[in-house]
Symmetry: C2
Subunit: 808 residues, 2 copies
């Protein structure tokens, strides 16, 4: 099996001179379509990228709603049908585009640059506004709910208070789940895994659609207000990406908001750059951390990066920061209802100690170890829970709402019921703050306690999550929280965070992780108070960092986000140390939580490095037939037939006698270009090669611009007469004449690195020896997926060869 | 000329069966070597990467000492000989390495990971120590000099004071220039352009050698102490990179400091990663800015980047921050002589206003525009001055020292003479600081003034550069500096900064740029004081940012470095705005200063994007003969002959009859691997293909590890008997069987993107039609250089096609 395995025979066309008896067949062979027929009875057209059939692998894409009635392009991952489209970052160089580049005016280039910066500015402005609106709405809705309940509790109508509190939560939760389940199921969850996959080149169905954006914004507001243990940070990243996508594709055609100026951005490369900026803007808006946002996009989200993009992303986040600052300034005058200091979490630790000693470092190492273990466990449990949930969610929207109701009731019971366990504590005499708290947020919630006392567990539970974090991070409050309180709160938040993520509500993971981390940070700080001089507030911060490192495995961006949240440079080395330890430990158990979700959703994410077992295979081992090729001047009927019966997105074009002396590879033509060319109906009676000038007159490069997802031309939309079907069309002007190729004996590992580094969608495999047809096959993204390779070579044990970056 | 130009005929071997009559010839043809004979009469062996001859282009690599007596590998750029070696980031997959990967133990992988982190830790520790030592030495030397002069001035012995001041400066300057000119000429200048080029894949001669490190550290200390208008930041980056390189290659064999454990890191990829970390550590040590250091490495220095590297670089800078903090803590007790608060610049602007209005924004836009214009002008003038200086410096070390003496005298005269122009100002009554200043540094230098007065120009000139910057950035000091003072200081610093950079002393550009920028920032702030409420200290900061943006064109890293220097998040959006404007304006005039120096030095830097004119050429257009290929089982004599007479670093291996039925490309073998194989003398009597098992027993992968620059095996070191020369050697086990290839009709633009994205050294060009030999030529880095292409196609105007990222 070490690279010497028998290669699957590549499908070869019979080389009859002048004949065009193509093997046009469904990739499914003779049998019926293997995907599940589901709720919607509309048949799915099965598309894939290259020419690869079903390999019957057992991967289960979970968390995906399978009832969709769309003809969007679909790729096969494992045995399941996923509405996924690969993206193509390769520069297409065909004769038509070259003609266009040559004639491109300086004015157009100027227009492009101005538009680019305008778009980036708009992304920043809109994301900033949405981020502020989100906070404003949450603060007002949750504030109203808490004040109402607090009033009832003051009147000692405790059961009514619970009904009011739980009822508010339930209504908000059902509203969130309903819009999510019925309007845009793709909006559920964090959205960061999907954005990450998109930036890697995988476009999951409707993940950046306008309806998803709508549900993400309002679902997140409702979900956070409903008192769930979830955050708005992940959804903000997804929101930023959706805004960027919507602006980049010139609005939504469905909702008649289009703009033709934006034709320049109708390609995967420019769209990717805009969405990277949008993701950065989302983080910046969620945390008010412009630098952190850029680093997040860089470290976690983006798969390709370059200096110019860094600069553009930074500009976007700066705009977000300015917008947020101005709006908060505006709200200082009290015009924004219950919007106080809260919402945009911003913690001030500035008075903490600047020096630390050896015992402090030991405490920090302990924190790091705990963070690594809890983080790894969290990811493990989340994986299991999501698998269970996916079975429930699959049954349809009512079940999704039912699950959400269950979790909402449990959450309400925890946050209203558990504080009754805590004893009332007398108010500290030297407190700067009011005690007990009057109003919405504060450190000293009175709850059921008599005047002059407060309930420390209620200060954490009976608050918005942002306020609870602020209370945990507050410094100089060594004795505010009892040990038992912190233990109860940690257990509740850890478990609620786990069970909340999979419900059909936009839900981020940052807040649950920060909450749980800060709590055990304070526990450790209190326990080690005798040997360490650090403030428990700082311990809470370090705990949050360690848990973030343990679950998300981000380092630099978490560090900078925490730095920007707390505005304290002195703690930077401590945070770095704790992150290093927790990430290293957790990496021994499993992957980061976002990577795990990407895998679970069946998105064919490509890592930048090749797996070691790929070194023992060659490119020819994994390509497999049937391969459909076109002649340079092809009969219209053949093309239409091929497009109708297969879902291939790329077709090799081979010039054959009589056009050339010997068969010769011209290049690759994509489905979308073929469709545009066919629509133009520039057909000829004879099979002769033209100069292409007719095509150049008829078409410009922008006619071939990529439409928004699901909006491109479809072969079903085109009609041809029988006469037209017998005519010929010259494919040369639209054929990409410089496709990247590898020789069939190229190591699969190196082909994978090439594929990933250049952001390809199709990689042509050419034969090694000259006495063969000029093309062996096409490699696409899913040919590199481990399940596919394992399906072809069941005896090849991927774990036999150690996974390491050594020499790789 | 649009891609249809006649291709230079690739040299083709006569295909006589069984014959091995190779065309082994010097790439120079019959004539003598075309490089200039210079001071050292030792003949230079001329190496290049592929098989490409002299193209007679007119590019002049300046700023390079041409008298070197080394047999290090040399590449040709333009018409000149530059001691440059290309680096190879491709994963070599040959049978031997595959054998080795298969048998690699878990233990070894663990060893590798532990070593990697240990190295990174050591880089951080050492760079931190060096950074601190640098500051400590400068503060003490410069402090002693200033105190001595100040004492003499108090006694009104003004001329003696000038002699003492100028004399100290001169001695320090001559010492710096002497070690630089005689020991390590590569240590002159900033070092950032060279590090940037190294990380792009260009290894300039001895740029990371131990001698360069030594001179960089001590030359920088002497140069900064000598009162020049130059900084230690650039040299610190270079120092960090040198330390990383030294540690990575296991010490210096020359100085008998080697370590065999480090064999894992003896390849270009791992070394590149370490040097990226080193560069980040250098910035972190220079500015005490750990996050800024990482972003600098990311934005400016590195050409390739991945998430794991981000994390490692971040760890390195965290270690630097911890080391610096502990050492400064240690010095607080007064054990470090004159080392006060100074040295590691750290400015506190924390009390500046947090709000700003429209007039403030107008002021900031004006600052941005000025920064862009001054920045572009600075780069333009620096280019001219460096070209003049290179003529002087080329004449030898004495001339270098003479130039340094001239600049030193001018600098001393300016900084001692110009303050006499300023009038004495009475001390402000409400000043928190002592006035006039007693001791070394401070805002109110008395200079020649009577008691109770201070000379504001002396406060800027007669100080270390760090203290001058601190004075300019200080807030609440609206009336401290007169307008005339600021104008005089700005003019002097701008001009001195320009003339100082090219001298033979390690010299950074950050400090001159920050000084000049802060000064005009204060001027603008004072002029607009009536309409803007911002503090002049904040204006100085924004001015510095605008000038940094205008010259260096860095954005995110400058922003974060300034953020970390001033510890004030509120000014972040303002700094971003000013940087955006100044960079955008300056980009219309010329390139960033470091890119400009890279070009001027003739380093073949490859941008991540392809130039538009490359779209109109194909790969086959730029490859040119003679090409030397080896047979899979080759006669030793032929190999030795080829290695001796040419400087090619990569040779295609072609199996021919009788080994195979038809000629077939096996792969690529590199010079270094051939040398190791030849040294092993595993020769055979007959030309038969072996199983390779003998080679596998004799060699391990580590025997082929890359040695430090200039330390590898040389063909001259090997001796062969006549009998051995007639024997055969099997090249298959060491041939890279998966080299990346492009078809000769591939667009040059796309070949360039492939070459750059994968970090290749050799790219094989294969024929399109089957009836030709299996290899057309090899593309190397300099085949993509504009001068080379222009030399081949003089009629192709690169400026005819617009340079834009559209569609590219």
């Amino acid at each position: 099996m070490d690279g010497q395995s028998p290669r699957p025979q590549a499908h070869r066309r019979p080389e009859r001179e002048g004949s065009h008896n193509y093997d046009i067949e469904s990739t499914d062979g003779a049998g019926g379509p293997p995907w599940r027929q589901n709720g919607s009875s509309e048949a799915l057209l099965r598309y894939d990228d290259g020419g690869v059939g079903d390999r019957g692998s057992a991967r289960e894409p979970l968390l995906r709603k399978r009832t969709m009635n769309t003809t969007s392009q679909i790729a096969i991952v494992g045995a399941n049908v996923c509405p996924i489209e690969s993206l193509d970052y390769e520069v297409v160089e065909n004769d038509l585009f070259k003609q266009d580049w040559r004639s491109r005016k300086k004015k157009q280039i100027f227009q492009y640059i101005v538009l680019k910066w305008t778009l980036v500015l708009l992304i920043g402005l809109l994301t900033g506004f949405v981020g502020f609106f989100n906070n404003l709405a949450v603060e007002n809705i949750a504030g109203f709910k808490l004040l109402l309940t607090g009033d009832l509790m003051l009147k000692e109508r405790y059961f009514t208070a619970f009904l009011a509190y739980g009822g508010c939560n339930l209504v908000l939760a059902v509203a969130a789940a309903a819009i999510c389940a019925y309007i845009a199921p793709a909006a559920a969850g964090s959205g960061i895994p999907e954005v990450k996959a998109y930036l890697n080149g995988v476009d999951a169905y409707s993940i950046l659609a306008p309806s998803t954006l709508f549900v993400k914004i309002f679902g997140s507001i409702l979900g956070v207000s409903a008192g769930f243990v979830l955050g708005k940070e992940g959804p903000m990243v997804h929101t930023g990406a959706c805004i960027a996508n919507l602006l980049g594709q010139g609005g939504s055609r469905k909702y008649r908001l289009t703009c033709n100026w934006l034709r320049y951005f109708k390609n995967d490369r420019d769209r990717r750059d805009l969405i990277t900026c949008g993701a950065a803007a989302g983080v910046a808006a969620a945390f008010r951390a412009p630098v952190g946002g850029v680093l997040f996009a860089l470290e976690e989200a983006a798969s390709w990066w370059r200096s110019a993009l860094l600069w553009r992303a930074f500009f976007t986040t700066a705009v977000v920061a300015v917008v947020l600052r101005s709006l908060i300034e505006f709200c200082r005058s009290g015009k924004c209802g219950l919007f106080g200091q809260g919402g945009l979490i911003m913690f001030d630790l500035s008075s903490t100690v600047a020096t630390y000693s050896t015992p402090d470092l030991i405490a920090i190492i302990i924190l790091g170890i705990i963070g690594g273990i809890f983080g790894g466990l969290f990811n493990y449990l989340l994986d299991k829970i999501l698998r269970v949930y996916s079975i429930i969610n699959e049954r349809g929207a009512p079940f999704k709402i039912l699950l959400t109701i269950t979790i909402s009731v449990i959450t309400s019971m925890c946050s209203y019921g558990l504080p009754w366990l805590a004893a009332c504590t007398p108010c500290p005499v030297d407190s700067v703050e009011q005690c007990p708290t009057i109003g919405r947020s504060g450190n000293f919630k009175s709850f059921q306690c008599p005047p002059g006392h407060y309930n420390d567990l209620a200060s954490l539970f009976f608050n918005t999550n942002d306020d609870a974090i602020r209370n945990l991070f507050s410094n100089g409050t060594e004795s505010e929280f009892h040990m038992s309180t912190l233990f109860v709160f940690f257990t509740a938040v850890y478990c609620l965070g786990l069970v909340t993520y999979g419900i059909a509500v936009p839900s981020g993971l940052f807040i649950p992780v920060i909450l749980a981390g800060a709590t055990y940070g304070r526990i450790v700080g209190t326990l080690l108070g005798s040997i360490s001089d650090l403030d428990p507030g700082l311990f809470a911060l370090l705990g949050a960092a360690s848990f973030l490192g343990g679950t998300m495995r981000m380092t630099v961006s978490v560090c900078v986000i925490l730095l920007e949240l707390t505005n304290d440079l002195a703690m930077l080395p401590l945070v770095m140390l704790v992150l290093l330890i927790s990430k290293t430990i957790a990496d021994n158990f499993n992957k980061g939580v976002y990577d795990q979700i990407v895998v679970m959703k069946g998105l064919p994410y490509m890592e930048a490095h090749a797996e070691p077992y790929m070194r023992h295979l060659v490119a020819g081992d994994v390509v497999s037939g049937p391969l459909i090729t076109f002649s340079g001047v092809e009969k219209v009927g053949n093309i239409v037939h091929a497009l109708k019966l297969t879902g291939h997105n790329g077709f090799p074009v081979v010039d054959e006698p009589p056009l050339t002396e010997a068969p010769e590879l011209v290049g690759l033509v994509t489905r979308s270009h073929l469709l545009v060319l066919l629509k133009g109906k520039m057909f000829m009676q004879d099979q002769v090669k033209t100069s292409g000038s007719l095509v150049f007159q008829r078409f410009g490069a922008f006619d071939f611009a990529k439409a928004g997802s699901g909006k491109g031309l479809k072969i079903q939309d085109l009609d041809f007469t029988d006469e037209e079907m017998e005519m010929y069309v010259d494919l040369h002007p639209v054929t990409n004449t410089s496709p990247y190729t590898v020789v069939e004996t190229m190591s699969l590992a190196k082909a994978a690195i090439l594929f990933r580094a250049l952001g390809l969608r199709h990689l042509l495999v050419v034969p090694k020896t000259p006495d063969r047809p000029p093309i062996v096959g096409i490699l696409t993204r899913h040919d590199f997926v481990e399940e596919h390779i394992h399906g072809l070579f069941p005896n090849l044990n991927p774990h036999r060869f150690h996974s390491t970056s050594m020499g790789g």
